[in-house]
Amino acid sequence: MSQDTTSNSDVTDGKTHFGFQTVAAEQKEAMVAKVFDSVAAKYDIMNDVMSLGIHRLWKRYTIDMAGARKGMQVLDLAGGTGDLTAKFSRIVGPTGKVVLSDINPSMLEVGKDKLRDQGLVQNIEYVEANAEDLPFADDQFDIVTMAFGLRNVTNKDNALASIYRVLKPGGRLLVLEFSKPIHSGLAKVYDAYSFHLLPKMGELVANDAESYQYLAESIRMHPDQETLAQMMREAGFDSVDYTNLSGGIVALHKGFKF
């Protein structure tokens, strides 16, 4: 599954990073799975607490930039508890389809329950899948989104190539992910928050400081805005650009397959 690659790849000589640790590439998937098994039940509450609810606005911005319309086929990759899927499901309507995909069955189960509770059943499909090896036909989706998922993927180049394959010509990929704050002052405050406050909040709300320590470390290890944009170009995406949100704490990258 994970392969050794060169250039921007985060897998070198069979090793990759898990937060600040260096681990064997084939181990990372299981380690990430353990983290998300642990946080799945309280994932939504923690998102609201950690971001003061701002994650909802970042996701809304992603929806606004997606250009979705009724009848479209959308893949919400690493969709977790289905925040984007819920909105896409209403937008594409009964003639469209949204596939909520996640590598982690616990997260997918939480998402499935949540969406069913919201009465959204008609046009949603649930698929447990690894982003690096998507089990979909070529040129299938009009839009692929990946919100706060890419940094957990072992080999991001493989994932981007796989996404490119399943997108229709003219389709677009949107990657919403933590990034690098553009102001040094904000970066210091954000670091202090991530490494000191976040694990404590994780312990308090979800009784799991370790997983939130990993979250902070994985954010720091994730490629910055320009690097990710370059990785998308190398995967074949055209017209790649990005928008910094909340001072670059989060960035939305967009690229097209022509």
Binding site: I54, R56, L57, W58, R60, Y61, I63, D64, A68, R69, K70, A86, K87, S89, R90, I91, G93, P94, Q118, G119, L120, Q122, L245, S246
Partner: protein
């Protein structure tokens, strides 16, 4: 930068909260489930997209109006006529008056108008579960009293302004007097120019005579 998303989130949360207070209100919107409608407010071209499902209405405020086939129905309506589209019998009159344009499935708008007529909103029903009956009554009474005071103040200012305008109008010179004054000033300028020209000619004559 995220003000649109913030406003959309507040509108969605508020609307769904109000609708969930009374199950009948939620049922009123059930006929719209699975449909979508875009309202574009004119003349500012501000789009509001509404996506209906069984249990919620999602409100989006896209940065620019969506193309017509992105939603089931697009309604372009003048701000001044927004309240009137609740009454379907007025739609034709609004279209004729160029205050309303409908693209797509008209039945979506008709269903929405019908649902809106069934919705009744009261602050009491919203606040009582949160604050209790007694505090809600006090709060609303206080608000009513302050609102009445505010309304009185606005009326007083309006009267003062109106009186002021009528009185001040008398002090303003009529247009004919202003025109006469301008003519006189112009004539004076012409006379001054002529006088200056004569003075200059006399000075030249004196220099020529070697005086």
């Amino acid at each position: 930068m995220l003000w649109r998303q913030c406003l959309a989130e507040c509108l969605s949360l508020g609307t769904n909260h109000v609708l969930n207070l009374e199950p009948e209100q939620r049922i009123a919107f059930s006929a719209l489930s699975g449909t979508s409608l875009q309202v574009v407010l004119l003349p500012v071209e501000f789009p509001i997209a509404l996506y209906f499902s069984d249990k919620a209405i999602d409100i989006q405020l896209p940065p620019e109006p969506l193309v017509d086939d992105a939603v089931d129905c697009t309604v372009k309506v003048a701000l001044s006529a927004l309240d009137k589209i609740r009454d379907t019998s007025q739609l034709t009159a609004l279209i004729k008056a160029d205050k309303l344009d409908i693209q797509g499935d008209l039945s979506v708008l008709q269903k929405l108008s019908s649902a809106m007529q069934q919705v009744s909103f009261s602050w009491e029903s919203l606040l009582i579960p949160l604050l209790g009956e007694s505090f809600t009554a006090q709060l609303l009474n206080f608000h009513e009293a302050r609102f009445a005071e505010f309304k009185q103040s606005v009326e007083a200012v309006q009267i003062t302004l109106a009186e002021g305008l009528v009185e001040e109008k008398k002090l303003i010179a009529p247009a004919i007097f202003v025109a006469d004054y301008c003519d006189e000033v112009s004539q004076l300028r012409v006379d001054t120019d002529r006088f200056q020209a004569r003075l200059k000619r006399f000075e030249q004559q004196r220099e020529t005579n070697g005086e």
